[in-house]
């Protein structure tokens, strides 16, 4: 089976994709912090920020409907916070609008970051920014074996569904699910042991080598300066 649900657009060839992962991690984090600090009622700043994000999204060549679809993910929290808005009096709705706009901006930035960077490069960037080695190794393992285990889950689910008619009682259902998860866990443990033997015999030293890592280049300098200018403009104007 083929899965392309994560970093689906990370292999495109836009200028944003060519940046070093560290540049993007630092730059986009700065953008998120800036977006978080916009006050309610400053319409101009929100407008400028959305304009800037639209330009970046355009440069990145990621399909617009994908980006918009992803931003719907915050809906549950938006609704929960919406429950509270009427209690805030006259300021309530302006405050709520600012909250929704801010979190939408942050999500847009995150979507751009993760869809312009291949995961291998992202974890390498994290490592070079000082993230602990074990954590980065964990992330790499997760990425590699997620697809294998997702296949396993789908096969198990198919097997379960083809062996039953209708729905059993809740308790029986839960017991089946518990056994399925237990089976999956035992298989994961065994897979990990086999992997470890295989890795040792291939000379695993604790680092995951990456072919042709990106270097910090003039593109990165340009991107960082644009972001810094924008952040400074938003904060001080």
């Amino acid at each position: 089976m083929k899965h392309s649900f994560v970093d689906r657009y990370a292999n495109l060839d836009s200028p944003l994709h060519f940046l070093d992962a560290r540049t993007k991690l630092v730059g986009f984090s700065a953008l998120i912090v800036t977006a978080l600090s916009i006050r309610a009622g400053s319409t101009g700043e929100f407008f400028a920020f959305f304009f800037f994000m639209a330009i970046l999204a355009g440069i990145s060549q990621i399909p617009m409907q994908y980006v918009v679809g992803r931003t719907l993910g915050i809906l549950p929290f938006v609704l929960l916070a919406g429950l509270a808005a009427p209690w805030r009096g006259s300021e309530g709705w302006a405050w709520y609008l600012a909250l929704v706009l801010r979190s939408t901006l942050c999500l847009l930035i995150l979507v751009l970051l993760t869809n312009t960077t291949r995961f291998v490069e992202l974890s390498r960037g994290l490592r070079r920014l000082g993230c602990p080695r074990i954590l980065v190794a964990n992330l790499s393992f997760l990425y590699r074996y997620l697809f294998v285990l997702a296949d396993e889950v789908m096969r198990m689910r198919q097997a379960r569904d083809s062996r039953r008619v209708g729905r059993a009682g809740a308790l029986a259902e839960l017991r089946t699910l518990g056994s399925m998860l237990g089976t999956l866990m035992v298989r994961s443990f065994e897979r990990a042991n086999h992997m470890y033997q295989a890795m040792l015999s291939r000379g695993f030293s604790g680092e995951f080598p990456v072919a042709a890592p990106r270097r910090f280049s003039w593109r990165d300098l340009a991107f960082i300066s644009v972001v810094a200018l924008f952040v400074a403009a938003t904060v001080y104007l």
């Binding site: 899965h3 649900f5 994560v6 984090s29 912090v33 800036t34 978080l36 600090s37 916009i38 006050r39 992803r70 719907l72 993910g73 915050i74 549950p76 916070a81 429950l83 509270a84 805030r88 405050w95 801010r102 979190s103 901006l105 942050c106 995150l110 979507v111 993760t114 995961f119 602990p132 074990i134 954590l135 190794a137 964990n138 992330l139 790499s140 393992f141 997760l142 990425y143 074996y145 997620l146 294998v148 285990l149 889950v153 789908m154 839960l174 699910l177 518990g178 056994s179 998860l181 237990g182 089976t183 866990m185 035992v186 994961s188 443990f189 990990a192 042991n193 992997m195 470890y196 604790g206």
Partner: protein, 318 residues
Amino acid sequence: MRFLWLNPAGYSLQCPRMHIPDGFLANRIAISLDVVSGASILYAVRRLKLELSARVIPIMGVLSAFIFAAQMLNFPIFGGTSGHLLGGALLGIVLSPMAGLLTMATVIIAQALFLQDGGLIALGANIFNMGAVTVFSGYVLFRLLGAPGKPGKHLPLTGFIAGWISVEIGAAACALELGLSGAVPLRVGLPAMTGYHAVIGVVEGALTAGVLSFLARVRPDLLKRDFSPRFGFPDWVGGAVLVAIPLGLLALAGSSNLPDPLQALLSRSLVPGAHQESLLSSDRFTDLYRVLLYLALVAIVGAAYLASRFVRSRGGRS
């Protein structure tokens, strides 16, 4: 839109729905919890380096993929919502809390990066709620209720309680953070989150119990290995410092009219203008008070570091 890719029937509300997006937490709270979670990850890394053989690295890696994949298996509850395993308590019990914490942190980071599920600045809060709190509370409950060394008759019951309560505490922490940020008032958020997760948590408890009793039946060696006293005194101290104290500060701030300690922890915010919008104004605190609380934060991190420094290796394992 999480897991839409495996759910052709369409979007159904996923439930333990605790991934806080960016923008809902006040910057102070988000950044304080980033610091706390960062410290707990560093503590766990240091602890594991001292004690574990390299063999455990792939185990943690594959189990984080396991948690990710296990969350695909939904249990429909009512009205289109469905619950799935959160997995914190299970990992804490099967893997030991330190490895469990790192594994959950990996899962939560990956969910933010793959699925944009939970924000980037809010990552610390999410790791705290769904990683540190569920792993440690699940493990502690399991150890307190069960007879150590004898995974027997009570295993399903203790597993159920550990899973259920751990989700409940995580949800309460989430509601407290949202409440203190002024995003969702406590009197709305706390009953909503805890009430909802009290129902959802039954699924978590049942699945934790189910997996544990399955493991006890099929591969008891995996469980027995982990009943060994690997969670020693320094870890109780480290867990208390990194989980119980921030949790206590949150609860104290949420439940009383006393000044909010966590809010004042990072003396004002790091970003200009960010503190303006909270309902809980921090103007009534004296500067002295703020300085003291800032020192408390530094002390938390420092204590965690020192505790990890003085931990001695207890010989090989695995």
